[in-house]
Amino acid sequence: MADNKATDSSDMSSQSASPSPAKPPFWNDPDKRALIFQVVLLAGLFLLFAFLFNNTLSNLDKRGINTGFGFLSNTAGFGISQTLIAYDETSSFGRTFLVGLTNTLLVAALAIVAATLLGFLVGVGRLSKNWLLSKVTLVYIETFRNIPLLLQIVFWYMAIIPLLPMPRNSHSLAEAFFLNRRGLEMPAPVTEAGFNLTLWAVAAAILAIIGLKRWAKIRQDKTGQIFPVFWTSVAILIGLPLLVFLLTGRPLHWDLPALKGFNFNGGLTIIPELAALWLALTIYTAAFIAEIVRSGIQSVIKGQIEAAASLGLRPRRTLQLVVIPQAMRVIIPQLTSQYLNIVKNSSLAVAIAYPDLVAVFAGTTLNQTGQAVEIIFMTMLVYLSISLLISLFMNWYNRRMALIER
């Protein structure tokens, strides 16, 4: 009894000491466990990075490579086959970075425009009621998206371009365009004094179109009358600059390419590397864009079109006001990720020595300087910033386009 009582009382006392249920040990408390886990994770990551950093420093030291970005101001001493900005062999390594970057952006921009056009055409063709057209586009899509892009790039560059004639026997069009295995020669526009006015006229035309659109919307809200904005815009965009161009005395002439000896002089040259990369990127990505366009258009359910018809909208207005806006909501996010893919895939240029960022900077410059860490870091940073910019745009667009439900 006494024993029992003693235990009872001791139990009582322990309970009165802690009236709330006994606290679990800290390793069973979810909050504390999460905290500990995260601290351990951070410490582990820190140790990993310290380990890598330390190794890198000692390895670089042993190979006698200086760390830092000082090498960027040293003289490069090698030529680059296509430069959009002033560059020669006496320029610095920093300049090679800019040359590579502009070349990457050039081929990416060209491929984005061409792949979008081709992709939309093929995607719409896929939905055509014409059996032959729909099957031909299907074969196109299934063929080109299932063959590696790199294979397509080297195919155009190493197998097809060598089949073209030498410069002396070029295929020519109107004695202004010449196609040969050294590239495509085109007339180059040369501007004269006063051409700036035409450019200003383009800017003015764009402003005028924005104003016109606002005015047309206000008028339609008030009176219900529809103003033909599209055709008026086209007329303004072409007419105004053309008028200024003619009034200022046509301050532009064309520099025609001409055969001198074994090569062409003057004009504008698309180098074969650019042509192959552009062609392959366009054909490959257009196959993906076509599928995106097809699924986007098919995602607009039939009821929407029937509803528009029963409201009395004509087919063209239905397309413009009902189908395209809803299809674009599906298409644009996937389209931007394809654009991002084009930018990243343009780095395959290195396989055919098109002087893009990876080939020039992470290739030649890296080999000449040995500054692997800095150069790879800068290269990755460029691609990361581009993809960050594109994903920022995507988020903004998704917010704007999000369905506002009841």
Binding site: K129, N130, W131, P148, M158, A159, A372, V373
Partner: protein, 365 residues
């Protein structure tokens, strides 16, 4: 005086221009002026392309022979492919040891068939075998050096077998990493989430070729002196890190598709986090994302060609090496056509498979 018939007179047959071949042509190819114009233009373009192509690839082609002198008829020289066929499949692997690669390929095909055909019992164990034991078997078969097998250096691996090794190791090794990253990205712990988001977004934001450059140039710098991998392992490290980020996003899609009630039910049963993931959430989520995984596998399979740039001889690399050989100079189109055909068969087959799985999983609503 009305004439009343009990039986309706039979329907007239549709006009002959609306049925049969004629009707089909009218409906599908020549329904209006624009369609007719498109049809005729496409037909002309197709004939202009296909006739020379068929002549080159089949009618005028040379199929038999052993040297380039056997290619005389002016069409495609498939002799180039048949002479190098073993090289394209096995790389520079010693010919007496081909059976090891064949055996590995045979086990792979058997395992895949067992996994894909419905009604085969014990899928769980087959999956475990495919993910855990099979890679070990393949490693010893390929590399040798144990069990009385002659060691074969990785620099001799090449061709289609190397392409398959890169793609399969890339996908299998990135699966567990991708699961962890996907779970981490959906975690409540802010630091874990931040680390996972940063890892995923960094790898997804850069092109694979810079990752491969990094793996081949910078990895030796990162590691302590004396610790060095060969080129193949370095490329694999890069591919796996890169691929795990994409895998994580695919799996995250599956995790998000699982209704919240499943998570809550698992908690209500008293399962711990890992128990509920392992027993309740992941089995459902992973099943949902099989098509997504196959799609990432297709893009990885195509991306393995990039290892050519850092000097490994995958299928594309070995074909390029073959037609750079002075004896066979100038047969690049045949080589590329063969590579394209092989890649196309694999990728198209896998995409069809993923579509059929998608249809099977799509229970309708």
């Amino acid at each position: 005086m009305a004439i009343i018939t009990q039986n309706a007179s039979p329907d007239l047959p549709p006009p002959s221009s609306d049925i049969g071949l004629k009707g089909w042509l009218k409906q599908n190819l020549f329904s209006n002026a624009l369609n007719s114009a498109i049809t005729i233009m496409l037909l002309i373009a197709l004939l202009a392309m296909l006739i020379p192509l068929v002549r080159w690839a089949f009618i005028d082609a040379d199929w038999l022979g052993t040297t380039r002198e056997d290619c005389t008829s002016g069409g495609a020289c498939w002799v180039f492919v048949s002479v190098h066929f073993n090289q394209f499949m096995y790389g520079l692997y010693p010919a007496t040891e081909y059976w090891r690669i064949n055996l590995a390929g045979f086990i792979l095909v058997l395992t895949l068939l067992a996994l894909m055909i419905r009604g085969v019992p014990g899928k769980k164990y087959i999956t475990l075998f495919a993910l855990l034991i099979f890679p070990i078997i393949v490693f010893y078969l390929f590399a040798g050096g144990r069990f009385g097998l002659e060691p074969v250096e990785t620099s001799l691996w090449g061709g289609l077998s190397l392409t398959l090794v890169l793609a399969i190791v890339g996908i299998v090794a990135s699966l567990p990493l991708g699961i962890l990253l996907a779970l981490g990205r959906r975690s409540d712990m802010p630091i874990v989430r931040a680390v996972c988001v940063a890892f995923i977004e960094i790898w997804r934001g850069v092109p694979l070729i810079t990752v491969l450059f990094m793996a081949s140039v910078m990895l030796p710098l990162f590691l302590p002196e004396g610790m060095n991998f060969d080129k193949l392992i370095r490329a694999l490290v890069g591919i796996v890190l890169f691929q795990s980020a994409y895998m994580a996003e695919v799996i995250r899609g599956g995790l998000q598709a699982i209704p919240k009630g499943q998570y809550e039910a698992a908690q209500a049963l008293g399962l711990s986090y890992w128990q509920s993931m392992y027993k309740v959430i992941l089995p459902q989520a992973l099943k949902l994302v099989i098509p997504g995984i196959v799609n990432t596998f297709i893009s990885l399979f195509k991306d393995t060609t990039l290892v050519m740039i850092i000097g490994l001889f995958d299928l594309l690399g070995i074909i390029q090496a073959a037609f750079s050989n002075p004896d066979w100079l100038g047969y690049s189109i045949e080589g590329y056509a063969f590579a394209a055909l092989v890649f196309w068969i694999f990728c198209f087959g896998m995409s069809r498979y993923s579509q059929s799985v998608e249809r099977k999983l799509n229970t309708g609503y």
